[in-house]
Structure formats: C-alpha cells, structure tokens
C-alpha cells in the first residue's frame, strides 16, 4: 500500500513538472485569482447611493449575499470552460500527439494511473484555485459575509462544472488523440451548451446537469433583488437533482474514458 502510494505521488510529481512548468501555474493563478478579485474590488468600492424602498430592505440579507457572490462569479464565469479545455488539450491530447504518453507508459505504473493522474490534476488545480479565490474574496474583499448556503452552491457549481468539462474533453482527447479536435469540441461544448440551454423548453434539471456553474450563477443572482435579471428562478430542488445527475454523468464518462484508454493502441 505504502509502495503504491509512493508510486502515485511520484507520478503526480512527474505530471506537475512536465505539464505545469513555468509559467503555466503562474498564468493560471493570475487569471483565476486576480481577475475575479479585481472585478470584486472595482465593483464594491463604488459608493452606490440608492434611495431604497421597503421592498429592498426586506430581502436585504439575501440580496447582499447574492449580489456579492454573483459579482465574484462573473469574474470566473468566462474563464472556467476555457481554462479546463486548454489544460486538457495541452496536458493530455498533446502528449498523445507528440508521443510523450508512450514515455509515461514505460514507467512502472499502471495505464489507468497515468491517465487518472492527468485527470485529477486538470480538475484539482483550477477548482482548487477557484475555491481559494472565493475564500480570499469572502474574507478580504466582499463587504458582507455571504450566506453559507449560497457559498456552498457556488463552490459545488465550480467543482461539478470542472469535473464535467474535464471528463468530457478528456474522453475526446483519448478517442481523437488530437489537440485541435479536443480544443474545438471543448470550446463548442462550452459555448453552444449554455446558448442551447437558455431555451426554457428544456426541463430545469437538464439545464442544471449540463451547465452546473451557469445554473448556480442563475440561482444566486436571483437571490439578489439588486440584479433583477428577469430570468426565471431555478428551484433549489432542481439544482440539487441537476448537480447529482451531472456528477453521475461525469463519473460515468470518467470510467468510460479510463476503459477506452486501457484498450486503445498508443503509438505506432
């Protein structure tokens, strides 16, 4: 067991040193950390004078929580799919293209471990940075402590979305073994899915399952009386069911990707 763990840790070290060399992590951190923090700082420092009405005050606590978290999420929303797709393309698909995966397979580790380490890094690094950004903003930037329920929905949305994006694009990378195909499919999925899902004809839980972060954003902004997006409210129950379905889809995709990888022919 100890030996297996040591081998796994060694595999992580190899992955980090080879795929996340300078300035990959530094660039990622700058994007994921500084951009949302800048959005939060530049928004809440404004002295917003508002002649308030009784209605605004009644919902004040929910409103403030939603408003501040939504500001932070706006900074993350545009980067989340792109970052995951770029990471999968350049850490997994590229290693198929340039033959580096063959070198990795010569090491005394199981095939599954090689791909699993890549998938874990692609999920944990951006999701961990986004979690750190959120906690930093809650502690130091946004003026009012947001509601715990809203924070947990936001973080669940981040992790489940990244899991879904990562497993789906990793499946494409393993099947096509091409950077361009992975990137094009990932970007198409990231751009087209939210547009398609904006059609209210789809049941709520389907829309949540295929775009968990977008659904979390919609739920949180609807908590805020100041944003008044005019979008329909996603009920909490649909959000939970959708998150569950998304998680199951991701795990199924992960298992299928690993199964395909163990049976596919690598190299010439």
């Amino acid at each position: 067991m100890k030996h297996k763990l040591a081998k796994l840790m060694a595999q992580f070290q190899i992955e980090i040193r080879m795929s996340y060399r300078f300035p990959v992590i530094e660039g990622l951190t700058a994007l994921i950390f500084l951009y949302p923090i800048w959005i939060a700082i530049s928004t809440w420092q404004d002295v917003n004078i508002r002649p308030d009405t009784l209605e605004y005050f009644v919902y004040a606590e929910f409103g403030f929580s939603g408003k501040h978290l939504a500001t932070l999420m706006t900074g993350m929303l545009q980067w989340l799919p792109i970052i995951v797709i770029v990471l999968v393309s350049f850490t997994a698909a590229k290693s198929f293209e340039d033959g580096y995966i063959q070198t990795l397979l010569t090491y005394p580790v199981e095939r599954v471990t090689v791909l699993l380490v890549k998938i874990i890094c692609v999920i944990v690094i951006p999701a961990g940075l986004m979690t750190f950004t959120s906690l930093f903003a809650i502690l130091f930037v946004i003026p009012q402590s947001p509601l715990l329920g809203d924070v947990s929905i936001m973080l669940s949305g981040v992790w489940i979305s990244i899991l879904l994006f990562a497993t789906l694009s990793m499946l494409v990378a393993v099947i096509t073994k091409k950077v361009s195909a992975t990137a094009i499919f990932g970007l198409a999925f990231g751009i087209v899915t939210p547009l398609l899902l904006s059609n209210t004809a789809f049941p709520n839980f389907v829309r949540v399952a295929l775009d968990p972060f977008g659904a979390a954003y919609r739920y949180i902004t609807n908590h805020s009386t100041y944003l008044m997006l005019g979008t329909e409210m996603t009920p909490l129950f649909d959000l939970q069911i959708g998150f569950g379905i998304s998680l199951m889809i991701s795990l199924a995709l992960l298992a299928f990707t690993l199964w395909i990888f163990t049976r596919s022919e690598i190299g010439g």
Partner: protein
Amino acid sequence: MILGIAVILLSSLGSYVYSERTMRVIEENDPLVYLFEIGQDVHANVTLDHSIGTFNVYFMTWQDANRTMFENMTATPITPISSFENISSLQENLYIPAPGIYAILVTTESTELQIIRVELSAIGIQTRVISGGVLVAGVGAAMLVLSVIWEHRTKSSLGEKAK
C-alpha cells in the same frame, strides 16, 4: 508573493476617489434613507439648496436602517454610529468601523419642502483588501525564503557526502 503585491496594487487602483451625488426633496413626514457599500472611510457633504431651515443626519448600519424603515423612518429605535442634529449643512468624514453596507438617514422637522443635496466620496484606502494582499505576499515571501534555505541545505549536505 507576487500575487499579494498584485492584490495590494489592485486595491490601490480600486481606491481612487469615487464620488456620487444626488438631490432629493424631503419634508417632515418624508425623510430619506441612502444605502451604500463601502470598504473605506467616506466623506459626506450634505447641503440644503436654499439654506433655509435645519435637518438631521444619522449614519448607521444597514440593519439599523432596516429598523428605521419599519418604525416610520425615525431614528428612535436605533443607535447610530454618528448623528448630526439641527444642522444647516454637513461636511464630515464618516469613519466606518468595518467594510460593509451602511446607510444615512436624513430627517427634518420643517413642514416645508426642502431640496437637499447629498454627496458621498470614498476617502483613504481599503484596509481589509490590503491586509489580505499583505498576508498573501507574506506567505509567498516565507515560502521563497524557506525554499532557498532548503536548497542551500540540500546542496551543502550533498557536498559533505561527496567529501
């Protein structure tokens, strides 16, 4: 460390003096509540358009503002952070206890309509954001120093082994 410094720089950029002004008509039974988010101290400038009569200004938390709304906009049920009563104009720096959401309530005993101008300007620096930046920069600096010490130790122990 670089991230921490970047956060400090961002907060300085975000701390540029921003002001907002508004003009409202108030009378005896129609006072005014302004709600604003702020991360730094604020300068308040409240004046009457024709300098006739007096008014009261109460600076409070948003929870207190909430209470005044339910009590017909009087300052009776609350403990304001600062209050200025029977004044004809106000030019004051309001020192906020912590970053957050605050409100000012303007009331008057005058039965006549009064046109009031309110101008709020952010002053000073966003201390909480800067302290976060300092913390991140400090952790980064400590990690840098530790990594240099670790590298130095590894090199010297390898050197001793070689001897």
